[in-house]
Symmetry: C2
């Protein structure tokens, strides 16, 4: 069973790795070099699939200054078709739907092979954003243009801590056709467990099957990475900041934290019978952080069933 069949069957225990495409001004040859280096690094991990993020200029998400200036990246769909053709397992391509007009989105959705690709449709980061296409409209387009193309949605445990209704948002997305969910980077184990738990018991109450929830983990080895994660709205705990300022090996501490949190969440989901996947994300462009993320994926591979 490959990743897509697994998601269709509502089965979990799969491993993904998430990439951000190279900058928009990267030339063709350099983009291919980056792709080749990345795939060579990832092939031995035994991934069930790749995630390609679609980076939007989210300056409206947060009035604070963006820690890194916004750099448009290559379109993940183009990066996939132009540079990642030799990758063997399915790929999940994100679409920040506010960036695209309806015709452009419809054409892309219609052209995708549902046996090879899935998509995650992401709405505008802020309701103040001028969206070319709303998340609702994008979901409708997907159903019309390519009904067999499996679609996922984002899940935000931190929002559940504040509003206590993220499980209902997931169920509404599921009604609209979502077959899986992907979280942002998980630091707060109890927030994640609370979301899984509320989602599980609400599925049970309604008598509907679970969609797999993919938990994202990363390492944070530099102050810039920390600032960026916080700017993205992730509650990175203070002890990680302290370690970054003082500790001999903060990267090792954040690696250990991610490993432990992932292992505990996996055990918890298994106890409840909620299907889950693991996604490891490399946030930074520093080589040591990328390599730590790949190592994290390898170590989590060993913890997953098949």
């Amino acid at each position: 069973m490959d990743l897509i069949q697994r998601v269709e069957a509502g089965r979990g225990e799969f491993l993904l790795f998430a990439l951000t495409p190279p900058r928009h001004d990267t030339d063709r040859e350099r983009a291919q070099e980056i792709a080749d280096t990345t795939l060579a690094r990832l092939r031995p991990v035994g991934l069930d699939g790749l995630i390609l993020y679609d980076i939007d200029d989210e300056t409206q998400r947060n009035p604070a200054e963006r820690p890194f200036p916004f750099m448009p990246t290559l379109d993940p769909a183009d990066f996939l078709s132009d540079n990642l053709g030799t990758w063997e397992t399915p790929v999940i391509v994100y679409r920040a739907v506010a960036k695209y007009d309806a015709e452009n989105l419809r054409a892309w959705l219609a052209a995708q092979d549902p046996a090879r690709l899935m998509t995650v449709l992401v709405g505008a980061a802020s309701s103040g954003t001028q969206a070319r296409t709303s998340l609702n409209d994008a979901q409708t387009l997907r159903r019309e243009a390519n009904p067999n193309l499996a679609t996922g949605g984002v899940a935000i445990p931190e929002r559940h801590s504040r509003r206590e209704d993220e499980h209902l948002r997931l169920l509404a997305k599921q009604d609209a056709g979502c077959r899986f969910f992907v979280t942002q980077v998980v630091y707060d184990i109890n927030a994640a467990k609370n979301l899984v738990s509320d989602y599980h018991y609400e599925c049970q109450r309604r008598g509907i099957p679970h969609a797999p929830i993919v938990f994202t983990f990363s390492v944070c080895g530099s102050m810039k990475t920390l600032d960026f994660l916080r700017w993205l709205g992730i509650d990175v705990p203070r002890w990680i900041e302290n370690d970054l300022e003082h500790a001999a090996d903060p990267l090792a501490a954040s690696y250990q934290q991610a490993l432990t949190t992932a292992t505990e969440l996996m055990a918890y989901c298994r106890t409840l019978g909620v299907p889950f996947g693991i996604n490891v994300e490399s946030v930074s462009i520093r080589r040591v952080e990328i390599e730590a993320a790949v190592q994290l994926a390898r170590e989590l591979r060993a913890e997953l069933g098949r």
Copy 2:
């Protein structure tokens, strides 16, 4: 090295078990039966010491109704001298100082053997409480009446999440003579790590040694226990409540959570070089919950150095 020598040397890796004395109206024979059963259960665990709580009527702590009516218990100091004489390792006796007038407290402090007993002085739960003795005065009494008697203080990670100054409170208590700290039950791993981290780096900055921090864990296997923990001011996460309402074996889930959180905190403290102890508390009077707490202590014993 026994527990008291270890604390004096600022060394951690010790294991405690906390008991609440029997109800005040328990007759002498029944109190001895309870003590004998408890000690027989605890002897095989290999504890470095016992904690005896001093329960105060804390109705002023919280305007909500107390889930269990307040039941005065035997004085832990009396329970120790009358019924626990055969226990081999040191005992930490709590004193809810607001309950005692200064002379009573001074006499008790003066009579204790510093080679066999330590005390934790706890201030009034709310500033609105009419306190017979304040925490400050109790600390002064201890220094005057029995300067060699090692004293501990309470540490509250949840308060650190709200006010971000709990590490400074610990350092003030340390200045007043505290040689160790004991937390309330830990559910929020990041709150505990944030406190340890801030405490550690502030000790480093001031060039003073750490006092061992004792982390308390428990199991929660019934709705009454959950209500009581929440009433005491502990943030028990929602997923535990859900499990209690729905899951086949909520006690097992809360056991697993305690074990994982303890293991992760131990690893984190070792990385930083902060000395720590582990305290397992039995909150409930249900036999199955008591036995799970004892089993948790046995399992954590194996994780501790000597």
